[in-house]
């Protein structure tokens, strides 16, 4: 998914209750599991939410994360989304300082990455980019040449490719 080999993506289907996110986050914190990014959203079933977590760890740590999150009463399913069987997407908004000279260069880079310029002022612009997290990393690398004023990434959202769908306990 990204350049780092230990990055793993877990997709959790959980009861759509208040407090579920706190339980998951508390568990990660208590057991010393790392959270790289976390997104929560509704699903087609109003009773179920999906939490997508990007975490780091070797095989043994990942096994523990899956089992421990699976033990929570409100967890319906935990799926490890593997790189080659899944689709990962992330959205980036980045505000970059741009004067007359740099604006043209930045536009050129955006064109290559198929990023959109969604806001423009005399001194800055905001770029929107959607894609695989490694594509976003690459784009950000390019933007480091300029003065980044603010940025925000949504964190990874993901689904298994093809006909695979999560079993719900």
């Amino acid at each position: 998914m990204t350049n780092k080999v230990n990055k793993q993506v877990l997709s959790l289907l959980v009861d759509n209750h208040s407090g579920v996110l706190a339980r998951v986050a508390s568990l990660f914190c208590q057991r010393g599991f790392n959270i790289d990014s976390l997104t929560v959203s509704n699903t087609d079933n109003p009773e179920i939410s999906r939490i997508t977590i990007v975490t780091e760890g070797d095989k043994q740590v990942l096994e523990q994360i899956i089992k421990q999150t699976g033990k929570l009463e409100e967890t319906r399913a935990v799926v490890h989304l593997k790189n080659d069987e899944s689709l990962f997407r992330e959205l980036l908004l980045i505000k970059v300082a741009a004067d007359q000279r740099t604006r043209r260069e930045i536009c050129g880079i955006c064109e290559i990455y198929r990023a959109k310029i969604v806001d423009l002022t005399v001194t800055s612009l905001i770029v929107e980019l959607t894609g695989n997290p490694s594509k976003i990393d690459g784009f950000l690398e390019m933007m480091k040449e300029y003065q980044i004023l603010e940025m925000c990434r949504t964190g990874v959202t993901a689904l298994a490719r093809g006909d695979i769908s999560h079993g719900i306990k």
């Binding site: 043994q60 096994e63 929570l72």
Partner: protein, 553 residues
Amino acid sequence: MILNGSQILAEVLVEQGVDTLFGYPGGAILNICDALYDYRDEIKQYITAHEQGASHAADGYARATGKTGVVLATSGPGATNLVTGIATAYMDSVPMVAITGNVGTSLIGRDSFQEVYIAGITMPITKHNFVVRRVEDLADTLRTAFRIANTGRKGPVLVDIPKDVTGAKCEFIPGKKQENTYVTHISDEDVEKVAEVINEAKRPFLYYGGGVGAAKACQDLRELMNKAEIPGAHTLMAAGIVGCDEPLNLGLMGMHGRLSANLAADKADVLIAVGTRFSDRVALNTEKFARDAKIVQIDIDPSEVNKNVTVDYSLVGDVKDILARLLPHIKEAKHTEWIEQINQWRGADKKPIDDPSVLKPHQIMAEISRQAGENAIYVTDVGQHQMWAAQYCRHLHSRSFITSGGLGTMGFGYGAAIGAKIAFPNRPVIHITGDGSFHMNMNECCTAVSYKVPVVTVIMNNSVLGMVRQWQTVFYNRRYSGSEPERVTDYAKVAEGFGAKGFKCVNLEQFQKALELALKEDGPVWIECVIDREEKVLPMIPAGGTVDDAMEE
């Protein structure tokens, strides 16, 4: 029928088979207290000195009976005082339902008087918890709480009920007692594979823990032990699961376990871990624990597999179900050479030396076991006395040794002993404690006096915080920082002040007489036993060590 939330709570408690409740009243649960007044014939309420005592009492009651313990406390400080008790139950997988009141829903989130977010506080120390915001949800939430507490790996569940919900009314539909809904899913191939590994073992060894008792699988474990002649040793949580006199039971293992038991685990070629979790008090060095063995783990909690120690084979499910499936595939066997080797080690175990002119810890334990008899329930606090009780009391039955193993809660014992005695009024209940632990919650004496609960408390008084001091002796060059508080408490006088009886003993004969008298009393008794502060718990394997590092003196 239309009932208010408090009446619904009482109805559900009765429906779930609860006849004993430990707790303490307060503003946010006034409606509940009022409703319980009408149910006083069905549910006997025990009001403790402190909510912590109530939580330990519910825990002790649950450990002694196997039923779910129930504790009730008010909002704010009432709820936070339960925290240590809930965490204690969580670490030792004890089924408990904790009910807390909270401020009314309109006051929640406003830092109201006695408001605390107890659901947030207890999130990491409960199996699950609930805040009930609508009276219509109350009955089913409580039923779910009882189901969760007692299903799968057992543990505490907290239900927080705002005051207005306890007063609001709705239709109540009676329900059924929640049954354990857990189902074991394992394949025949996996069972056969594990049986094959056990059948091929030359030096098999059983390492069993509290999960065997929780699954009521003691008999099945003994069958496995005897059928294939597999020696075994128990964790702190499993004292009494196999009787201490049974020839294949090597006794306690781990940090303060017998050298022979730890040697057997170290030299085994197949180690079968049943209902246990390779804690750092047993698998002190996770890399080297059972280093020559293929490890088989049988446990109900999948997250315990490969958590602390990587295992070769695992069967996840109810221990009783699994052993029942496994046993027919286990061949009768003899391991004569292995048993001979183990018996040699057992012969070499250092025995403590008797001295009746003073009070030696092992002699106190032996005397307690002799006088209290086969039916006794031993309840301990935490520290040196706890280890001596684990090493030297005669453990004969499951659920007869009640101790805070996982959390190591000093101050656990008195409340837990009161809970156990209330559950079994006709069995002798001996609370074995130290002067450090006892000072934490000795106030529960008033509870034992009020309700005439004749718990016998044996205080091993060495005037220091013995276990801390022992570590300082061994690892900190005898720098006794903080471990010698030099208290001058007159226990007999304090006991008397509470309305209990107290004795002080300095030699074995005095202790024998005091215990004889104490066991005949119909109220609580304290027996102070003065012991030497240099007494150590031995053998000892330092944290992170192996049996090679064991100290015997």
